[in-house]
C-alpha cells in the first residue's frame, strides 16, 4: 500500500523533488521534462538510464560519480517519453558519447530507441545496451526476458569503465558483456498497491508465494508453497546457475535484492543461504550487494541475480562510486 502521497498524479514529481533535495550535493532534478543529472558532471562517456518509476532507488539513486550521469523516470510503472530521454541525453553528453542502458520492456525500448535517433540527429554519439535478465520470461516467442536487477551491475561496472576514461565503444562493450553474463529470478510474498489504488494487484494465501514475478506488481509464472529461506533461495538460485552454465571454481557477483517491503534481516538470511548454496557447487561469491535496490513499490519478496565475474568485472565493481543509493 503506497500511503504517503498527496495526489496520485503528482506523486512521482513531488518525490523526485524531495529526493533531489535530500541529495543536493550529488544530483539535480529537472522537473521539465523530467530527469535527474549529476550535480558535478565529468568529462567522460556519459551513461543514461531510466524507465518507469516505482523501482527506486533504481535509477535515480544511481546517478553520481562512477555510475550514471542521468536517469529518466516515467510515471509509476510507465516508460518515460522520448522527449524526456532526449533532454537527459543532451544534458549528460560531454562530447564523448552516451550509452543508454535500457531494460527490456516494449515502451522503454520504443522510447529509448526514438530518443537515440533524436540524439544522433543532435550530433550525439549514442549506443544502447539492452538488459534482459529475468529468467521467468525466458521464452522463444514474445518480447524476450524482462530487464530487472541485473541493470544495477551493468550500470555499476560500465559506469566505472566510463569514469576511468574508457571510450564509448569500450563502455558499450563491457555493458553488453555484463548484461550477457547476468540472470535473475524473483519471488514475492505479497503484491504491491499503487498510489490511489485500494487493493494489491493480486492476493496470495498465507502459505503461498508467487514465483517468477517481475518488478511491476504483476503475477509471476506460478504459485508455489511457502518454505524456509534455504529452500526458497535454492528455487531461485538453481535456475540462475543453470542458465549461466556456472561451473565449479567460477566466480560471481551476487545481488540479493529486496522488492520493496522485505526487511534487511530477511535479505541477509537469503544472502547467507545463497552463499551456502553456491559454496556447495564450488561457486565463489567474489562480491555481493544485499539490499533493496530494484523495487516494485511495496512488494514483499526478493530477487537473486548472479553475474559471472571475470577479474575485469570485479575490478570495475570495486572502483569508487558516489551516488545517493550506492557509495564506496
Amino acid at each position: 500500500m503506497t500511503a504517503l502521497f498527496n495526489e496520485p498524479a503528482g506523486f512521482v514529481a513531488e518525490a523526485l523533488a524531495g529526493f533531489a533535495r535530500a541529495h543536493a550535493g550529488l544530483i539535480r532534478y529537472e522537473p521539465d521534462p523530467g530527469y535527474v543529472v549529476r550535480a558535478n558532471p565529468a568529462a567522460k562517456v556519459a551513461l543514461v538510464s531510466g524507465g518507469g518509476s516505482g523501482h527506486e532507488p533504481l535509477h535515480t539513486g544511481f546517478v553520481g560519480a562512477g555510475m550514471l550521469d542521468a536517469a529518466v523516470p516515467g510515471a509509476v510503472f510507465a516508460s518515460p517519453t522520448a522527449a524526456q530521454i532526449r533532454a537527459a541525453v543532451r544534458a549528460a553528453d560531454r562530447g564523448r558519447g552516451v550509452l543508454l542502458v535500457v531494460k527490456n520492456y516494449t515502451g522503454d525500448v520504443l522510447n529509448f530507441s526514438i530518443a537515440a535517433e533524436l540524439a544522433a540527429e543532435d550530433g550525439i554519439d549514442v549506443r544502447t545496451v539492452l538488459v534482459a535478465d529475468d529468467l521467468a520470461t525466458d521464452s522463444a516467442d514474445g518480447p524476450g526476458r524482462r530487464g530487472t536487477a541485473a541493470v544495477v551491475a551493468v550500470e555499476k561496472i560500465a559506469g566505472a569503465a566510463a569514469e576511468a576514461g574508457a571510450d564509448l565503444d569500450a563502455v558499450a562493450d563491457i555493458a553488453t558483456r555484463v548484461a550477457a553474463s547476468a540472470r535473475t529470478l524473483a519471488l514475492a510474498f505479497t503484491a504491491c498497491t499503487a498510489p490511489g489504488r485500494d487493493r494489491p494487484a493480486f492476493e496470495l494465501g498465507p502459505d503461498e508465494i508467487e514465483f517468477g514475478v517481475g518488478i511491476h506488481g504483476e503475477r509471476g509464472i506460478e504459485v508455489r508453497k511457502a518454505a524456509p529461506a534455504a529452500e526458497l533461495v535454492a528455487q531461485l538460485a538453481e535456475p540462475v546457475v543453470d542458465a549461466l552454465g556456472l561451473a565449479a571454481g567460477e566466480k560471481v557477483i551476487a545481488l540479493v535484492n529486496g522488492l520493496g517491503a522485505t526487511h534487511g534481516l530477511e535479505l541477509a538470511v537469503a544472502h547467507e543461504e545463497l552463499v551456502s548454496f553456491l559454496a556447495a557447487r564450488d561457486i565463489v561469491v567474489a562480491r555481493a550487494l544485499v539490499g533493496s535496490y530494484v523495487t516494485a513499490l511495496d512488494m514483499k519478496g526478493c530477487s537473486i541475480t548472479l553475474v559471472r565475474a571475470p577479474a575485469e568485472f570485479v575490478d570495475r565493481w570495486d572502483a569508487p562510486v558516489r551516488t545517493p543509493a550506492l557509495t564506496w
Partner: protein
C-alpha cells in the same frame, strides 16, 4: 494556407473527435488514447506559442515535440512521424516536401513499431497517404487525395484483427472497431485539405 492554420484545424478536429477515439481505444486497447492524443495536441500548441516557428517545417517539428513529450505508444510514434514531415517540408510547404516527409515518416514508424499494413495500426493510414502524396500535383489536390486515402486506410482497419499494439491482446473483440491511430492520420490530412481549399 499556413502550416500554423493546418495545425489549428487539426487540433480542433482532434478535440471534436476525442471522445470517439477514446471509445475505440477502450473497445480495443486500454482506453487512454483520447487523453494521450489531446494532451499531445495541447503540448504542440504550447510549443508553437512558445517558439513561434517561422517555417512550416518548424511548425511540424513543434508538433513533433508535443507528441514526443507524450506517453503511450502513439505519442512517440506520431512524434517521429511529424518529425520526418517537418524535416522534409523545411522552409516551404510543397507537395514534394510533404510527400517525402510522409514516406520517411511511415518508414520510421514501421521501423520502430514493426507494424505492416494490415496490422490494424496508424500505419494502415500512413502508408496509403504517403502513396497518394507521392503522385505529386498542386498542394490542395494532393492533400485531398491524401485525406481520402488515409480515410480509406483507416476504414479498412475496421474489419481487421489487430496484430500490433494493445488491440492485438483482445483478438476478435477488436473487429468492428476502426483503429483510432489510423483515424487520427485521416483527420490530420483532412484538416490540411480543408484549410487549403478554404
Amino acid at each position: 494556407m499556413t502550416a500554423q492554420h493546418w495545425i489549428e484545424a487539426f487540433a480542433a478536429s482532434v478535440r471534436e473527435h476525442a471522445a470517439g477515439l477514446a471509445d475505440a481505444d477502450r473497445l480495443a486497447g486500454d482506453g487512454d488514447y483520447g487523453d494521450n492524443l489531446t494532451s499531445a495536441v495541447q503540448r504542440a500548441e504550447k510549443a508553437l506559442q512558445a517558439t513561434k516557428p517561422d517555417t512550416p517545417g518548424g511548425v511540424l517539428l513543434a508538433v513533433s515535440d508535443g507528441f514526443l513529450a507524450t506517453g503511450g505508444t502513439s505519442g512517440p510514434l506520431f512524434g517521429m512521424w511529424f518529425r520526418e514531415l517537418g524535416r522534409s517540408v523545411g522552409a516551404e510547404l510543397t507537395t514534394a516536401g510533404l510527400a517525402e516527409g510522409a514516406a520517411r515518416g511511415a518508414a520510421t514508424v514501421q521501423r520502430l513499431g514493426k507494424a505492416e499494413v494490415g496490422h490494424k495500426t496508424m500505419v494502415d493510414a500512413m502508408v496509403p497517404a504517403a502513396s497518394a502524396l507521392a503522385a505529386g500535383g498542386p498542394l490542395d489536390e494532393a492533400l485531398d487525395r491524401a485525406a481520402a486515402a488515409a480515410l480509406q486506410g483507416a476504414e479498412s482497419t475496421k474489419d481487421l484483427v489487430a496484430r500490433r499494439g494493445r488491440a492485438s491482446y483482445v483478438g476478435e473483440h477488436a473487429v468492428g472497431v476502426v483503429d483510432p491511430g489510423a483515424r487520427t492520420v485521416a483527420l490530420f490530412f483532412a484538416a490540411g485539405a480543408q484549410v487549403t481549399s478554404a
